[in-house]
Amino acid sequence: MAVASPSTVMNNVEAVRHTLYEALKNDERTLVLGEDVGARGNVFLITKGFIEEFGAERVIDTPLAEASIVGVAIGMAMEGLRPIAEIQFADFIYPAFNQIVGEAAKTRYRSNGDYTCPLVIRTPYGGGVRGALSHSVSIEALFYHVPGLKIVAPSFPSDIKGLLNAAIDDPDPVLFLEHKKTYRLVKGEVPSGHYTIPIGLADVKHPGDSLTVVSYGLYVHQAIEAAKRLADEGLSVEVIDLRSIRPMDRTTILASVRKTHKLLIVHEDNKFGGIGAEISAMVAEEALFELDAPIRRLCGPDVPAMGYALPLEEEFMVSTDEMAETMREMVRF
């Protein structure tokens, strides 16, 4: 499936699939395990055909038990393999919480480097797909508090390839979040050949002068769309795609804030204790006197989940119109 041209247009699901395929092809230590990743080829068909090419011992249909999907992968990683575990939906990750937080994140630390845990846990997250309470959640804030873990959430095909390769190569556990609404919605050029994007680097996806918008996931795409609308109105907005949530890119955020003097953070996960709170605190600590307006956050509301009914889902999600309106208010502040 890899094509020997300089780049190929792919959507996000194809970018994940392409990168996993290359990893399995190039390194016998890698294997994929999870629910329905084998014969079914994953519920989004990401691993379709892999079991025929790489065999059932490398594309493992596991029992339906998330704690052991992660836990078994930890044991594989501790013994020198490079497992890529899949949690079918991020909403199903809670039974594996201890394995991720209590075990994977502490393996290197508690053994003082005697054992390491080079593990990738991939999972689709996010709403706007009529996924209701248990197929829509964002989980990043539950995990970004945890030293020992890395968390990435790229949402462009080329970033997905570079960061998934980096995650697979990484000597420590990485939680790899894929916004499921972007899977087939977002397309872009993906360079051929193996490359990595360093975990922890944000990317300015839309340059501007009057307002810094920090986002990730689906909302980056909406924020770029909103910034383009404002550009048509003569208002200049910079959109930063965080891409990595832990570690996070202070340098890029601060450089932008020192230029624009205003900061808006947009994320789908709920506001209280979310990623935006940490970014706000960091900017307040490092660059308070650079700010010409209060920091604002546009986030999911503080309710347990988005409902199945369309009005409930729409109320939860931040629309591009809302983003554009908030941006206008802040630029004019």
Partner: protein, 340 residues
């Protein structure tokens, strides 16, 4: 099980006199190290200790069945004898107790949470049964690499068999027919919760049938019987025969830890009723009555073991703590800073 007045006849199961003496020394060493931990705690020299008194037969027999340089041990925190039995130096038990920098975890881990990658001794947390999926993953790695002749030995207490990860792990290993032996050291107590509040069955081994794997009960007070069962189970795993659940029955003679007081939940009578199961004096009698060792030789061995434990106690105590800046290392490879 044997009554107080009888000493089981020696059934060697192919073991030489030298191996039988090795078993007794391992048991004495564990008992002495256990006592040392409680003594150091009562002297105010270490904050915490956990003992394995009553488990010595399981540890010595299992350690002898363990293939050094090939097998992997994924223990729990009540496995001092097993860990030294597979080659860990007793000094490391004391380094762990004193939380010294020279401890392999650098003084991070609680006592008895050993790690020694070179010996195949996997690092664990204190979370009950959370290590069992790791054991299964290690066994998967062996099978995936077609490393015949290797197996994983994973241990846990009776309480662990209530945890979801226990069931998930046994099931995963059974489905994939992995080279692993699950060894339950059933000492009847999970801190203060007795077996009958932990499960509605008498024998943990009954759980094996639900996962389609063989199960075997063994008298954990008899190290040779344990060796025999564990050797067969490990050999089955090493030769592609899949997992086995072994239940070794024993009794926990001490409180759960130095922070526990078992007088609050079990009677002194109960402990005395189990005293005849104490594996250490029982095995001493077996060796003496069968003529493998004289009482003088046993006494000399005890003196040698005590001198060794005294020596490693002094050596460990004299070594330095980790320094404060060691808190920040080995979070990741590279910097621990969350902001780049």
């Amino acid at each position: 099980m044997a009554e107080a007045t009888t000493t089981p006849a020696l059934e060697r199961h192919g073991l030489s006199d030298e191996q039988l003496r090795w078993i007794l020394r391992n048991m004495l060493l564990q008992r002495t190290l256990d006592n040392r931990g409680f003594q150091l705690n009562r002297q105010g020299k270490i904050p915490f200790a956990t003992g394995s008194e009553g488990h010595e037969g399981i540890h010595a027999g299992s350690a002898l069945a363990f293939e050094r340089g090939a097998d992997i041990l994924v223990p729990y925190y009540r496995d001092i004898g097993l860990c030294i039995g597979i080659g860990m130096e007793p000094l490391h038990v004391l380094l762990s107790m004193f939380a010294r920098a020279a401890d392999i975890s650098g003084g991070r881990q609680f006592p008895n949470h050993f790690t020694n990658h070179a010996l195949g001794l996997m690092s664990i947390s204190s979370i009950i049964a959370a290590h069992l999926p790791h054991a299964v993953g290690a066994a998967y790695a062996m099978k995936y690499r077609k490393e015949a002749g290797r197996a994983v030995l994973a241990t846990f207490g009776d309480g662990a068999t209530s945890e979801g990860e226990w069931h998930e792990s046994v099931n995963f290993a059974a489905v994939q027919s992995l080279p692993i032996v699950f060894l339950c050291e059933n000492n009847e107590w999970a801190i203060s919760t007795p077996r009958e509040h932990q499960m509605a069955i008498r024998d943990v081994v009954d759980k094996a049938e639900g996962y389609g794997i063989p199960g075997e009960i063994v008298d954990g007070s008899d190290p040779i019987a344990v060796y025999d069962v564990m050797k067969r189970a490990l050999d089955r795993a090493r030769s592609g025969g899949g997992p086995t659940l072994v239940e070794a029955k024993c009794y926990r003679f001490l409180s759960h830890t130095t922070d526990d007081d078992d007088r609050t939940y079990r009677s002194r009578d109960e402990i005395e009723r189990h005293r005849h199961l104490d594996p250490v004096p029982r095995f001493e009698r077996v060796l003496v009555e069968s003529g493998v060792m004289t009482t003088d030789e046993v006494s000399a061995m005890k003196r040698e073991v005590l001198a060794h434990v005294n020596d490693v106690t002094d050596r460990a105590e004299a070594l330095p703590y980790p320094v404060a800046s060691d808190l920040y290392t080995n979070v990741y490879e590279g910097t621990h800073e969350p902001w780049l």
